[in-house]
Symmetry: D2
Subunit: 209 residues, 4 copies
C-alpha cells in the first residue's frame, strides 16, 4: 500500500468542547498527550487529532458552531466534552443551561453527527472541585448532568468516557486531605499536567482498544 | 386571476417567539387580533398567519427549532420576538443568556432566514414590569438587550418593531399610578386584552403600510 | 413539692428556625410529636415547648429577631435549625447567604444565647431533595453548610443534632428508588408525617437522655 | 471656654458603610475630603470624622457589627451608606438581600441609633454603572432599593443624601458618551477622585448648613 493511500486512511478525531479542550492542544494538553500515547503504541500514523475547544462554551454553543468547527473538517470520530459551564454559569453569571435544554441540544448535536456516519464519544464533566465528600458547591448539579449524559450516551448508542467517575475514583485514593484543587486540576476545573495525562489515558482506554 | 393563483400569492407570516407568542393565537391573542385588523383593511386574503411561539423560549431555543417550526413552513415573512426569558431566567433560575451569546444566536437566526429570502422583522422585548420610573427589577438589563436588538436590526437591515419603546410611551400616559402590571400585561410580562390589541397595532404600523 | 414549684422547674425549650419549624407546631408537626414522645416517657410536665419558626428565614433573620422571639421567652434550651434557605435562595432568588456570613451570624446567635446560660443545640439542614446518589441539585452546597455547622457546634461546645446525616442514612435504606421526595419530605424540603416523627425522634435521642 | 471643653463639644460623625466608605478614609477618599472641606469653612475643630466601612457589606452586615463599630464610639451623627452589594451580589454570587429584608434590617439599624439620640443620615446607593439611559444591568433593582431608602428616611425622620439622584444628574451633563464608568467611578461602583470629591460635596450640602 502506498504512503498516499495510508494517509487517506488516517482517521480524523475532533475533540469538541470548552476551555479544557482549548487548552488540550497545548504542549502538555490532553490532546497532545493523547497523540504521544498513540505514538508509543505505533498508531500515530493512523489518526489525525484536531482540537475544537472554545472557552466558556456550553452545549448550545457547540450546537451553534458545529457546522463551521466540526462538520467542515469531515471527521470520522468526534469526542464531545461539555457540561462544566452549563452548571457553573448558573452560579457565576446567571447564564447556565436548564437540564432539559442541555439534553435537547446534546441530542441534537449527536443526531447531526451520526447522520454523517461520524462515531461519537461523549464525556461526563470531570469536576468543579476535587473534594471527595460531595461538598464541592456544585457537586449535586454536576452529578445530575453527568447522569443525563450517561443516559444520552445509552439512548444514542454512543460510547461513554466517564471522566466524572474516573476523577472521583482517583481523588478517593490520591486526595486524602480532601483538597478542592491541585490533584488533577489547577483551579477546581482546568487540568494540571497530571490531569491532562490522566484524561488522555481515560480516553485511550475507551477509544483505542 | 383565478382563485388558485390568488392563494399562491398569499404571503405567509410566521410569528416566532416565546409564551407571549404562544398565547398570541388564542381568541384574543395578538396574532388573532392582527388577522382581524387585516380583515378591517380588506387584506385578509393576502396573508396567512402562523404562530410559532413556545413558552420559556430564549434566542438559542429559536435557533434550535427554526428548521422544524419556521423554515419548514416556507414563510415569506418572519417576525422574531424574543428576549424576555433571556433576561428574566438569569434571576429566576440562573439560566438566562449572556448578552454576547444572545447577539450571536440572534444574528445566526436572521442570517439563515435571509439566506432563504425571507423578510425579517425583529421586536424588542416589551416589558418585565410596567412601572415607568425605571424601577422594575430587570429594567436595566432589558433596556440593554433592547439596545442590542435595535443594533442587530440595523446591521442586518431588518425592520424594527420597537415594542419596548411603545410600551413605555403608552404607560407614561396610561399608568400614572406607576403600577407594575395591569395596563398592557396581566403579570408584568404576558399581555392582557388591551396589550394584545396594542401589540397587533404596533406590528401593523410597521408591517402593513 | 407543690405543683407551683414544679411548674417553676419546667424547662423551656424554644425551637428556632424556618418554615419547617413553623409547621412543627401543627397537629402532626415535629414539635407536637416531640411533646407526645415526652408524654410517653412521663416527662411532659418537665418541659414547655415553644415554636419560633418563620418561613423563609435564614441565619441572619434569626439573629435579627432573637431578642423578640427567643430571649424574651427566657428559655433554658434553644434548638437552632436553619440553613436550607441560606443555600436554596441562592438559586431561587439570588438572595442566599455567603458561607462566611452564615458562619458569622450563626456564631453571633450562639454567643448571645450562651451569654444568658441557655443550652444550645444545633441541627444540620436535613434536605433539599432526598435522592441518595448526591445528585440533588444543591447537595454540594448543603453538605458544605452542614460541615460548617458541625464545626460551629464543636467550637462553641454545642450539642449537634445531625439531621442531614440521619436523613441520608434513612433514605439509603428506605428510598431505594432514589426518589427526590415523598420519603421524609413532601416537596424535597418540608416534612411529611413520617419526617416530622423522624425529626422528633432524632432530637429526643440527643436532647432527652 | 477652655480647649478641653471645646474638645468635649466636638461632634463625632461615623460614616457607616461598605467598600466605598472603607476607601473613604484614604488620602483622597470622600471622608478625608469632607474633613478638608470642613477646614475650608473653619469648622474642622467642631467635628471628628470616623470611617466604619467594610468591603462587601450589606444592610444585615451593618446590623451585625453596629455595636462594635458604631455604638461603641458614642457618635452624635451616623451616615449610613449601603445598598450596592445588596443588589449586586444577587447577580455575582446569588447572595444579595431581598427587598423586604433590606428594609427590615435598615429600619432596625436606624431604630437602634435613634434610641441613643444619634442623628441619622441615610444615602441612596450611587451607582452600579454610570450610563444615563437606564441600561446599566442593575439599574432597575438599584432604583427600587433607592426608592425604599427614600421611604425609610421619611418614615424614620432621617435626612436623606440622595446620591443616586445626584450621580444621575451629574452624568446627564458630564457623561454625554454614555460610558459605564470613568466619570465619578473607576469601575462602575467605586469612586475616582472626582467621585470622592463630589460625594463629600453632596454630604456637606445636606449635613453642614
Amino acid at each position: 500500500m502506498s504512503a498516499f493511500t495510508l494517509m487517506q486512511q488516517k482517521k480524523k478525531i475532533v475533540f469538541f468542547g470548552d476551555s479544557i479542550t482549548q487548552a488540550g492542544v497545548g504542549p502538555k494538553g490532553y490532546i497532545t498527550r493523547f497523540g504521544e500515547k498513540l505514538g508509543q503504541k505505533n498508531l500515530k500514523d493512523q489518526y489525525e487529532l484536531i482540537g475544537a475547544g472554545i472557552g466558556g462554551n456550553k452545549a448550545y454553543d457547540l450546537y451553534l458552531r458545529m457546522e463551521d468547527d466540526v462538520l467542515s473538517k469531515n471527521p470520522d470520530i468526534v469526542v464531545i466534552w461539555v457540561g462544566v459551564n452549563d452548571v457553573w454559569h448558573k452560579r457565576t453569571s446567571g447564564t447556565g443551561t436548564d437540564a432539559d435544554k442541555f439534553e435537547k441540544f446534546y441530542n441534537a448535536i449527536i443526531k447531526k453527527l451520526q447522520a454523517k456516519n461520524i462515531k461519537v464519544y461523549v464525556c461526563t464533566p470531570a469536576a468543579i472541585g476535587e473534594k471527595t465528600d460531595y461538598s464541592n458547591e456544585l457537586d449535586g448539579d454536576l452529578n445530575q448532568y453527568s447522569k443525563l449524559i450517561r443516559s444520552i450516551a445509552q439512548k444514542n448508542n454512543c460510547e461513554l468516557i466517564d471522566l466524572r467517575e474516573a476523577f472521583l475514583k482517583y481523588n478517593l485514593v490520591n486526595n486524602k486531605e480532601n483538597k478542592e484543587s491541585g490533584i488533577l486540576t489547577t483551579d477546581r476545573v482546568h487540568l494540571n499536567d497530571k490531569g491532562n495525562d490522566f484524561v488522555a489515558d481515560e480516553m485511550m482506554k475507551v477509544m483505542i482498544k
